[in-house]
């Protein structure tokens, strides 16, 4: 739980570590920004379910924060075109 006394930098660090180390998420590429009691998540994950799980992990650690989950689900379609290396 974050407290009023905790500097925001430590709260962000704790949330980022949790998203990487919690087996439910194991996401190293998710960025965390904290503004007051609003937390903003950004980056890319592989599925909608993984995106939702990020909210749960943040909530378990800092239930007082409102989560804005701007994480994108990465595209899994075939590419358009190709790169020619000459």
């Amino acid at each position: 739980m974050t407290t009023d006394q905790e500097p925001p930098q430590y709260a962000v660090a704790r949330l980022r570590r949790a998203l990487a180390e919690d087996p439910r998420t194991a996401e190293q590429g998710v960025r965390v920004d904290l503004r007051g009691e609003q937390v903003y998540l950004s980056g890319d994950v592989a599925s909608e379910e993984r995106k939702r799980t990020l909210d749960q992990v943040v909530h378990d650690i800092a239930a007082n924060l409102k989560v804005h989950n701007d994480v994108r689900v990465v595209e899994a379609k075939a590419p358009v075109g190709q790169e020619e290396l000459r």
């Binding site: 087996p23 194991a26 190293q28 590429g29 960025r31 980056g43 890319d44 994950v45 592989a46 599925s47 379910e49 993984r50 990465v74 595209e75 899994a76 379609k77 075939a78 590419p79 358009v80 190709q82 790169e83 020619e84 290396l85 000459r86």
Partner: protein, 245 residues
């Protein structure tokens, strides 16, 4: 023309099973080989490797992979390689393979790689055991990559790693974490062996295009960077030979 498809950091697990397969079914129409640049799984478990095997097994092109840091998280790297091998996926770790592509020999040398940072701003094998172990691991795997590249008897030589050999393809990542994203020792090995192109993953917020100090093109094919199931790169061996001379 040699057409290389590549992707890294697909982070598969049962919850993402089958996501990529539809895009892979017709891969042979647009490519000759598929490279997987590590972080194939989320936690590095055998169950997740079985998802990877189903996703990338039985395609109409050869599939060559290296493992990434996520694939080592459960300390089951060897078991993962076995599961993938049984599905016909070649997993490289300090070794190489030569494929026949339309009469051309395409050599691929691969290694996971590791961190340490980039020339002039990198860590040294000095001080605590933990620090020496960190850098010695990078030096060891970079050495393996260099030897594997030099041993390839091929028309085109490709380096495949998970960690980045250059900082150019990390643009977009925080500068503070560059030492955890790659090492110049990998680039030094790639340049010394005069590889034709290098592929890596790991840096989700990085940039697709980069180049080594020696002029070898580097492509960051982490899926969040290329924003598709894979990307295709076309090489002309004759033009590469001309560029090298």
């Amino acid at each position: 023309m040699i057409r290389i498809a590549a992707v890294g950091d697909v982070h598969l697990a049962p919850d993402a099973s089958g996501h990529l397969r539809p895009a892979l079914e017709e891969l042979g129409d647009c490519s000759d080989v598929l490279l997987l640049a590590g972080d194939l799984t989320k936690h590095g478990t055998v169950e997740e490797a079985e998802v990877v095997a189903r996703e990338f097994g039985g395609l109409d092109v050869p599939v060559v992979a290296v493992l990434g840091n996520h694939d080592h998280h459960s300390d089951q790297g060897e078991e993962l390689s076995t599961v993938l091998g049984e599905a016909g996926i070649t997993v490289l770790e300090g070794d190489g393979i030569v494929l026949d592509v339309n009469g051309r020999r395409v050599g691929i040398a691969g290694v996971k790689g590791f961190g340490g940072g980039f020339a002039g701003k990198c860590a040294s094998a000095f001080g605590e055991q933990e620090m020496k172990a960190f850098i010695n691991h990078t030096a060891e795997v970079s050495d393996q990559l260099g030897k594997a590249l030099e041993e390839l008897d091929a028309d085109v030589r490709v380096a495949l790693t998970h960690y980045s050999p250059v900082k150019e393809t990390l643009r977009g990542e925080p500068l503070e974490i560059y030492p955890f994203l790659g090492s110049y020792l990998l680039a030094e090995a790639i340049d010394k062996a005069r590889a034709d192109i290098a592929f890596h993953g790991h840096a989700h917020a990085g940039t697709e295009h980069g180049m080594t100090a020696g002029g070898v093109r580097v492509r960051n094919v982490a899926q969040p960077v290329i924003r598709s199931a894979y990307k295709v790169y076309c090489l002309e061996p004759a033009e590469l030979e001309q560029a090298a001379s």
